[in-house]
Amino acid sequence: MKVLLVGSGGREHAIAKLIRRSLLEPRIFVAMDYRNPGLEKEAEDTGGGWRIVKTTDPQSVAKVAEEVSPDLVVIGPEEPQFHGVSDILREKGFVVFGVSRRCAEVEKSKVFARTLMWKYGIEGRLYFKAFRDLSEARKFIEFAGDVVIKPARQAGGKGVKVLKDTQAYLSKDRQEVKKTYVEKLFSEMEHFVDIDYKILVEQRVEGVEYTSMVITDGDTVLPLPLVQDHPHAFEFDVGPETGGMGSIQGPGWLLPFITREEYLKTLEIVKKVLDVLQLEVRDRYVGAFAGQMMLTGIWGPTVIEFYSRFGDPEISNLVPIVVNDFLEILDRAASRRLAGAKLEIDEESVTIVKAIAPAGYPDNKVLASNHPIAIDEQRIRELGCETLYASIEMRNDGFMYTKGSRVFEIVCVGKDYEDTYKRSELAVNYVRTLDGHPLFYRRDIGSKELLSDRVRVAEKVRIVYRSRAEKGLLGKMLVWVPGEGIFENPLIGFVR
C-alpha cells in the first residue's frame, strides 16, 4: 500500500513508525517542509520516498500526491488542514485521513470552538470574551480579573498568558501586565488575516491537564488511551509554555490520576463536540480529534482547547503500545469504514516521552536554531526506547541541525513508571550538540514525585467538583453585584 504522509515533525515521525509495521506493507512517501532525517529513513526503509514542499500549500501537496499516486494520504499537522490541503486532495479523488478546512475550524478558531460549546450547552465549557479590535479589548481588560489571555487563532501553542489574579494586593501589577500584553498580542495577531477575532479573554482554571485523542470517520469514534503532556519548559512545572516537553501514558486507557467516570465524561464531551461541529459546518469530520482537557474544580473534565489532529508529543506515547494494525484503522477512517474497528493496546505497559530542546526554545527561535546535533540511536534502542526526529534538519554538509523547536522525542516503554523512568533518564544522555549549545529536557517527567503530585492535585479538585455537582453548581461562577443582582461572570476582577 502506498501512503503519502504530509508533515515534517515528531508527530509525523510517530505516525510513520505506527503505520510501517502494518500487514498492508506500506511504502511511505513523505511530503515535508525540510529534510527531517527520521522521516527520510522511514521513507527509504519502506521503499517509499520523500519530497520537500511547502506543506501548507494545497497545490504543491496535490502535485506530490499526483506524482506518488498514494492509496492513502495522512495529514499530520493542523496548518495544512487550515489551508485546505485535505479538501483539494479529496476533490482530486484521493483517500485522505485528515480534516477538512471547515472542520479544522474547531482548532483554528478558539472563538468558534468555545461558541460551539456554549451554543449547544456542552459541559466543560469556560467563560470567555473575544475581541476584534484593540480599543474594546483595552476597555475590558481594565476590569478583568482572574483570566487567561489567548490568541483567538491556534498559533502553535504559543501566546497564551495565564494571569492568576486571586490576590487583590498584587492585582494592579497583574493588570499592568494584562494591558501591555493585550497590546502586544494584538500586534502579533495582525498578520493572521484568516480570522475575525484576534484575541480571547478566558476564565482561568486550575487542575491537572490530560489529552483525550480519538480517530473518527464522522460516524464512529474510536478513542485512544489518555495521555498527559507537560507544557512548562522547565522542570517542576516552571517556566514558559511550550508545545509540550514530554508526556506520559498508562497503564491502560486511563492515567493514574483520572477515574473511569472522568474518562467516560471526557469522551462524552468529545463525541458531542464532534456531532455538533459536523452539524454546524455541514461537513464530515474524517481524521484525528483531541480534547486538551483539564480536570478542574469548576466542572470536573473541562475543555482547554481542541486539536483537529493527533497531539504532539501525545501521539508518540502510542508508538510502542499499539498492538494491532494502526494503518488499517487510519485507512478505514479515511474511507469511512471505521464501524467495527478496534484499537488494541498493550494495557500492561506505561510509556514516557521526553522531548529534548535547544536553549532558546520556546521564546527565542534564532538562539535555538542552526546548532549541529548528534544522537546515538543505537544506545537508545538498547535501553528499550525509540527516537523520534522532530525539529531537526539534515543539510547538504551531512550534519543535522536544530530548527528552533524540540529536536528529538525519546519514547520509552516499560512495565511501570519507575523502571521506564530510569531508562528514559539514561536515554536522553545520548543526544548532544556539536557546538556546545546547551540542550534541555525535563528530568521530572515520569518521576514518582511528579506523578504523586498530580494524584494529589486531582484529588483536591475532585472533592471540589463533586461537591459542586451535588449542589447543581457545575460550571457556574456566581458573582453578586449589590444593587444589581447575581450574575455569572468570572472574568471580572477586584476593581470595578
Binding site: T166, Q167, E176, F236, D237, V238, G239, N364, P438
Partner: protein
Amino acid sequence: MSSLLTVYAFDELWSLVNIVRYGFQALQHRGSQLYVLCTVKDGVTCYEDDDVDISRHALDHVAIAATYADKNGIKTSVVSRDGVEVAVVTDRAWRKLPDFASELIREVKRCRNVEEAFKSTLQRFVDEKDSIPSIQILTNNREVIAWRTPHGLTPLVLGSYCFDMAIVSSESTAVDILGGDVKKFMGAGEGVYISRYLVKTFATSISKEPSLCMFEPLYIARHDAVVDGVSVYIFRKLLGEKLAEHLDTEVDVVVGVPETAIPYAIGFSHKIGKPFELAFVATGGRRRSMLLSDPFEKIIAVHLKMNPVKSVLEGKKVALIDDSMVTGATMKTVAQILRFRIGVKELHIFIASPQLISTCPFGIVNLDMKTLLAANLSSDLARDYLEADSLHWLSREDVDTVCRKFSLKLCGRCFGVNFLGG
C-alpha cells in the same frame, strides 16, 4: 536569622516593585532589620536599607533579595571584571564571602558557564570547621543561582507563578503570598540555575549529612509554612502533644506565649482535654522579641505583646507553653504578669524544646553562653527564678520521636547533641 528571595520573571513585561515588597513582607518574621536587593540596571546593583520600601529599586524583571535580623558581618558582595558583574548574597554573615566572590568571577570569566563556575568555586571553599551559608548570585547577564547550604540548616524552596515566574525563597510563605505554587523543596547542597532560556536544578558534591536547624520548625518559620515537606503547624502541634505527657498535676487552662507558641498550646490542650485560652493580646502589630538583640528593646516588645485577658486566668491553675527558652527574660516577664497582675493559682511552665545549653556553631541563632538560662541555672533554680510551680522541657528523645514521624532530621548542636530525629 534571615531569608533569601529570588524572583525571576521570564517575561520582561513585569515590574517587580510590589512583588518583591510583598515577598519581603511574607519573610519579615525571619528578620526585618536589614533588607538587601540586587537587580540589573546597566550592570548589577545592590541596595541595602532598613526599610521594606527598598523594593522600589526592583524595576527590572529579575531580582535577588534578602532580609536579615541583624546588620552584622558581610552578607553581600558585588564584584566586576572585564564586563562581567556578579552579586553574591548569603543568608548569614560569611567572612570568606569577598574571596568567594572574586574567585567566582574569575571562574565565570574562565569557563563562561555560570553554573560550572559556581560549582568549581564552591569546591575551593569547603572547610570542615566552617559551613558555607545558602547563596544567591545574580550576573549582569541576568543569570541567577540560588543554592542551599550543604548542611541544609536553613531551608530553600523553588516555586513558580503560572508560565511567568520562577520564585526561590527561604520559606514557602513567600511563594504563597506571591500567588505561586511551591514546586520543590531544595535538598541540602542543591541549587537551581535560572536564566531567560534555561532553568535547571543541580546537586553539588559537597553536601554534608543534612540536618535542618531545629529553630526553623520550632520558632523561625511561620505556622503556615511548609519546611522540607513538613507542615510547621502540625509539627508544632505534635510537639505540644508530646509536651503534655510531662504534665504530672491538674491544670484548669492551657495558654501559649504569643504567638509562636499557640500551636504548641493547642496540641497540649487537645492531649489533656483542658481548654486552650487566648490569654494575651498584642499592641502595635507583631514583633518577634527573640529577634531583637538590644535587651531593652526586647523587653519593650515583650511588654507590648502581653496584655493579659484577666478573666480567663484569674484564680486558675495554668499550664503556660512556650516554644523555647533562651535567656528566660520573656518567660520571666510573662510569669510576673500572670502572678502579680492576674493572680493565677498555680503556674506550670512547659517548654517545647530540650534545654538550650550551647551556642550555635553556625551562627544561625545568636546565642551567648553566659546568658543561656539552661546552661547556667539548675532546673530548680530556674523554676524558682521564674516563680513557677513546676518547669518542664521536652526531652531530646521526645523530639526524636516527633521528628521520625515526619522523617525529619534536625541539627541539635545548641541542645547538646549532633542530630535530633532522622
